[in-house]
């Protein structure tokens, strides 16, 4: 004990500090707030998000000279109310973000369990495909897929699921490899459970924690990717109000200083992603000590 490593108290102290960091209240409030806004968008939005009046183009926010209370956060190049578009944009981000994370999670967790539990050539095939797909930059891959199937909200969800399942598959497979060696799985085999039953009843519930943590961390990534795709014109098709699409439109007014068209939707994306990441980080530490090592 005389030769105690100096790094041990240092890192464990850092761990303690991390452990003391409480529940991320503000991020959760923001996420819940965005969710509520998305659900009650019709009731909250003062104007139609997709129809504007050309007479009211490029109105600045209410507190700036030339702004009016009618358009609290200004209007865009077609005279559409920015606030209403932001409100409905929350719905697009939420729906696309959550469903895509779930699609990716379902595929990735399923394949990860099968790959890890069955092993052998099944494992080899799934893992080689996973490695190959991981080598493709996510955004580039997603762009390629939208170029084939064409942009729509539904297609974006499927595409994001197809691009991001690999991250789950890797982690879940690793967990299954160690779960497989545990007593309760061996007992289940002895008791005569089929492979399908073991994977469904005994393995799946034990990897759900990790899947949820990963899902929360992926939410931010997925939202940014959706926004990037929309920004590039291959995401949610116009005139639907998606935040990424608003940024792309806002670029037109950027050089003349119409800041509200870029800063506002960008801030919404940032807030949501930041909140998802903070919540994910906290969940990671709380739910799954193993993941901390990653």
């Amino acid at each position: 004990m005389a030769m105690r490593s100096e790094a041990v108290p240092l890192t464990s102290r850092a761990d303690r500090v991390r452990g003391l960091e409480g529940f991320p209240l503000l991020p959760v409030l923001i996420l819940v707030g965005v969710a509520l806004v998305a659900i009650f968008a019709e009731a909250l939005a003062p104007h139609d998000p997709e129809v504007g009046s050309l007479a009211a183009r490029f109105r600045p926010p209410a507190w700036q000279a030339g702004g009016s209370v009618e358009y609290l956060l200004g209007t865009d190049h077609l005279g559409r109310d920015v606030l209403s578009r932001l409100i409905f944009g929350a719905r697009v981000s939420m729906v696309v973000g959550f469903t895509a994370v779930m699609v990716a999670g379902a595929i990735g967790t399923g394949l990860g369990i099968v790959s890890g539990y069955l092993g052998g050539w099944v494992d080899q095939v799934i893992m080689r495909v996973t490695d190959t797909w991981l080598a493709l930059p996510a955004l580039t891959f997603a762009i390629f897929l939208t170029a084939i199937v064409g942009p729509s909200e539904m297609n974006i969800v499927i595409i994001l699921g197809a691009v991001y399942w690999t991250r789950y598959a890797r982690v879940i497979r690793g967990e299954v490899l160690s779960l497989k060696q545990r007593e309760f799985v061996r007992l289940a085999i002895v008791a005569g459970c089929s492979k399908g039953t073991i994977m469904r009843r005994h393995i799946l519930p034990n990897v759900l924690n990790s899947a949820i943590v990963l899902g929360t961390l992926m939410l931010g990534v997925v939202i940014v990717t959706e926004a990037s795709l929309s920004f590039l014109g291959v995401g949610v098709p116009p005139p639907k109000p998606a935040w990424g699409l608003m940024l792309a439109d806002g670029k037109k007014g950027l050089m003349v200083g119409y800041w509200w068209l870029t800063v506002l939707p960008g801030s919404c994306i940032m807030l949501m992603v930041l909140s998802a990441n903070l919540l994910g980080d906290w969940l990671r530490v709380k739910l799954d000590p193993q993941l901390r090592q990653l």
Partner: protein, 306 residues
């Protein structure tokens, strides 16, 4: 050692085959590929000619074989819009992408490495927490938004920097910042954990026991060794930067590969999109292979493990 390298090369080759198969199958599964491979608005005669040229009446494995054969000859097809081979277009844009990636890399290392060291030396204290916030911001702020806000400030309000295009070092500044931003956070995180690991090792303890001043221990003994994994990551990230800059290049109208991909989408120029994706995946597979081999040469433990 030879066995390990052969094995890794076989895996990479398999990855490349799977990559081409993925791309090939996706194009064909989703319907008639001629609608993608023929220019929009082409005549029926053109479509039939294209069908014949690509052998779309043949069984699918024959199609795949000829697809691979063309790939092996570096034939990625012809751009509809530019009417030149895709590979030629790609190579003409590559230097610009490389320049942008290098500048972004310099920037991300200049920010990421010192802040990572600071966070490791002051672990758990103010600088460490500040670093954590910075890393989180880096990973949460989408690069296109950083780019747009930069334009708003430095081009529109202050009128210091050109908002788009290329040619001078001034043009490079903002896109490099926007692209390097995300990677700075990643480099900071790795520098921090790598420094922490090295600082806990026996030879650092020895250096301290010898009575060396702390600054020398950190700068000379710890930093050098902690830098190895960071530089490896930087190597991979440089290749990744070349291939993920599509949004940043679009925002700043930077004429690199990302911009080429964007043009491919907007002009419905499918061969360009397919070519860029194939080359991106191939490039990353090969870099991963090179790094694995490099590690095996440096570190005997990896060789023996395999």
């Amino acid at each position: 050692m030879t066995r390990y390298i052969t094995r890794r090369m076989a895996y990479s080759l398999l990855s490349l085959v799977l990559l081409s198969l993925t791309i090939f199958l996706f194009v064909r599964i989703t319907g008639d590929p001629t609608t993608l491979l023929v220019e929009p608005g082409a005549s029926q005669a053109d479509i039939d000619a294209m069908r014949e040229r690509f052998g779309l009446d043949q069984p699918i494995w024959v199609q795949y074989a000829s697809f691979m054969q063309r790939l092996a000859h570096g034939d990625l097809g012809q751009s509809f819009y530019y009417r030149t081979p895709v590979l030629e277009l790609y190579l003409s844009r590559l230097p610009n992408s490389l320049l942008l990636a290098l500048a972004a890399m310099v920037f991300s290392l200049l920010i990421g490495v010192p802040s990572g060291i600071l966070a490791a030396v002051r672990v758990g204290r103010f600088w460490d927490r500040a670093g954590k916030v910075f890393a989180l911001l880096g990973l949460s702020l989408p690069s296109f938004w950083v780019g747009l806000v930069l334009i708003l400030f430095f081009s529109v309000y202050l009128e210091w920097l050109p908002s788009s295009g290329s040619g001078t070092a001034w043009h490079l500044l903002m896109p490099a910042f926007a692209l390097g931003w995300y990677f700075a956070a990643a480099h900071m995180r790795l520098t921090r954990s790598s420094m922490l690991e090295v600082l806990g090792s026996d030879y650092i303890k020895l250096a301290r026991l010898k009575g060396l001043p702390e600054s020398l221990v950190i700068a000379k003994h710890a930093f050098k060794n902690a830098l190895i994994p960071v530089l490896t990551l930087a190597g991979i990230n440089l290749v990744i930067m070349i291939n993920v800059a599509v949004v940043v290049e679009t925002v700043f109208a930077w004429p690199g590969i990302g911009r080429l991909l964007y043009e491919g989408i907007t002009f419905r120029d499918f061969p360009v999109v397919q070519g860029v994706v194939l080359l991106a995946g191939g490039m990353i597979v090969i870099v991963n292979l090179l790094i694995d081999i490099l590690y095996a040469v440096i570190d005997p433990r990896i060789r023996l493990e395999a």
